[in-house]
Symmetry: C2
Subunit: 356 residues, 2 copies
């Protein structure tokens, strides 16, 4: 008998997010703030003059060309879904973002971040629209003030409960941030392992009802000795590669849930290293956006050039990321499930349909 | 600009039911009454002594072996879903049945049939459980009494409204029946074209909110002259093949919606002819159960023999049906849509997510 039960909708959704071997090779194209900024640079104008149509158009192109290489596509309901939904192939599943892009600073302390939902959007709407899973991004620093931590925790619980009600998989993305200084520093690189572990420990708790964690790499390879000859090396070191491997193992040991790695806009060369190290330690794949396609955006508004880049370099990037994820741990092999033969339908019985 | 708009959930669902070219190659394993009867014969006992476990087990085997050949699997929430859901591959979509198996005769005239829903089941539950579409079977004879016709029409409208509310595709199966005598007669074979056309004309009306029709073949090839040398010929003729081709064309002309052909338990040899003739006339594929796998059931409880048959003959049957459906009209080429480039998202706009 199966020892690890999962409800029908979540089981079906998670199965669809992964490839047939249980590995996640997912693409994110739900960026809003960072996309607006990249387009502003491409068009030599200010962020606030970038139009809806410009954002929607570039998202449509990226989705059309790259979705076929993904097991799932994460998009947003504002600029993404209405103009890209027809570009997602039948066998590529759909994640929809729940959070408003960015964060607010009202009601929390200095340098602290509070996430909020997209107004007039809901888990119920996402399910109706065909979402196979809900994605929520929260900024989280466990050393932030109690009100700031509690705000984020409450928000995650709220979304976890809504996903449980609608029996949709809940994918939580945790992004750490600096309470002092910048995330682009050797100081923050040194803090990163600890910050990551503590965020994962918190949101692994069953009360949040998360199904899959989308995690930052628990270190910064830009500050890793062994990469000093690589183009992404930052010029200072925070740790050695053997320590980074240990951080990945500790991250895996801390996560009570299957987890995937995010790209946070690093270059593809660095991201492929992240994927190799993370999957070696037990990650079940990736959910990656900019590392794959970001260099297409500066070519806008020359749509031919955008598409040409997507069909050549970006496609190559995606294929390389998929190869790097071939060693990922299938989600059902995570110790939470303990193998395919141990995964069972919750409340499996002749009266399932009545009790469901 | 797109001229034929479709809501997001329905668009996504229909896309997933079909193959990447828009053709439906779907398997039905939602039989309950007929499955119980076939198992009773296999086990030399009465229908009412067939156990839940026996039905669920044979459904699980059929789903496990044959689902990979289908673009979608239709199962039932009672015996099917709880023990078969894990057997449906990530890229094979899921239809769930809404109606109770069979029909009731209370409240309608002699020999008339009224369909009813599965108790304690709902469109909302089906959506939560991961259904990509809802299937409803109704028995319909347009010459039945006004209360009998109205009962069935009201039931279809009820389900159509629920599907619209949840933005799930609604697939309606219309099965005609004899008010006098039997459906297995040359007399009924002669009535069949007219009965089929009138049912399709009724439920094509927009008020029922149907998305796809699952239809009987509009004639009976057992009573068609040109098949007199074939094993399925019944010994008497009702029409010539040229007339049958005309019936198929008339059916297509009557259906305001994309339609697929059902197998109604005929042998595979006859079904392949049905599929060829129907797709030649404009059908978008098939939703077929027994014609493909029925000969596996008499081998039960010898599960090895059941699986052996499924992996050999039944697989061959499925592959042949898929080949016969290669000429089917892609759903978006139906005149309702007028080609892929004319299909658009309903309420497509920057405020889609607010208005949805």
């Amino acid at each position: 008998m199966a020892s690890n039960e999962i409800s029908g909708g979540k089981l079906r959704g998670i199965t669809k997010l992964a490839d047939s071997n249980g590995r996640f090779k997912m693409m994110a194209i739900d960026q809003r703030g960072s996309m607006k900024h990249a387009l502003a640079e491409a068009l030599s104008k200010t962020d606030d003059t970038v139009t809806y149509e410009e954002i929607a158009e570039v998202k449509t192109s990226i989705t059309r060309v790259l979705a076929p290489y993904a097991t799932a596509v994460l998009t947003d309901p504002i600029y993404g879904y209405p103009y890209s939904i027809m570009e997602i192939p039948r066998d590529v599943s759909l994640l929809l973002a729940f959070e408003e892009s960015g964060y607010v600073t009202e009601g929390v302390g200095e340098n602290e971040r509070a996430s909020k939902p997209i107004e007039n959007w809901s888990v119920e709407k996402a399910q109706r629209a065909g979402a196979d899973a809900i994605k929520l991004l929260i900024y989280y620093n466990p050393d932030a003030s109690e009100p700031a931590c509690k705000h984020q925790q409450d928000f995650v619980r709220y979304v976890g409960e809504a996903c449980e009600k609608h029996d949709l998989p809940f994918l939580l993305e945790i992004v750490s941030y600096a309470l002092e200084g910048t995330t682009k520093s050797v100081d923050f690189a040194k803090q990163k392992p600890d910050l990551t572990f503590r965020g994962v420990a918190e949101f692994s708790k069953p009360k949040y009802r998360v199904d899959i964690l989308k995690l930052e790499f628990p270190a910064d390879l830009k500050y890793t000795d062994e990469y000093r000859t690589r183009s992404f090396y930052a010029g200072e070191s925070a740790y050695e590669l053997s320590e980074v491997r240990d951080f990945c193992k500790q991250l895996d040991a801390t996560s009570a849930l299957p987890w995937v790695i995010l790209s946070a806009g690093v270059d593809i060369e660095e991201f492929i290293e992240d994927v190799k190290l993370a999957t070696e330690a037990g990650a079940s794949g990736f959910l990656c956006g900019r590392a794959i396609w970001k260099d297409a955006v500066p070519l806008y508004p020359d749509t031919d050039e955008v598409v040409k880049f997507l069909e050549s370099e970006a496609t190559e990037n995606f294929k390389n990321a998929n190869i790097a994820a071939e060693n990922a741990l299938p989600w059902f092999e995570h110790r939470k499930f303990g193998g395919k033969e141990n995964v069972g339908l919750a409340k499996q019985s002749p009266t399932w349909y009545r009790d469901y």
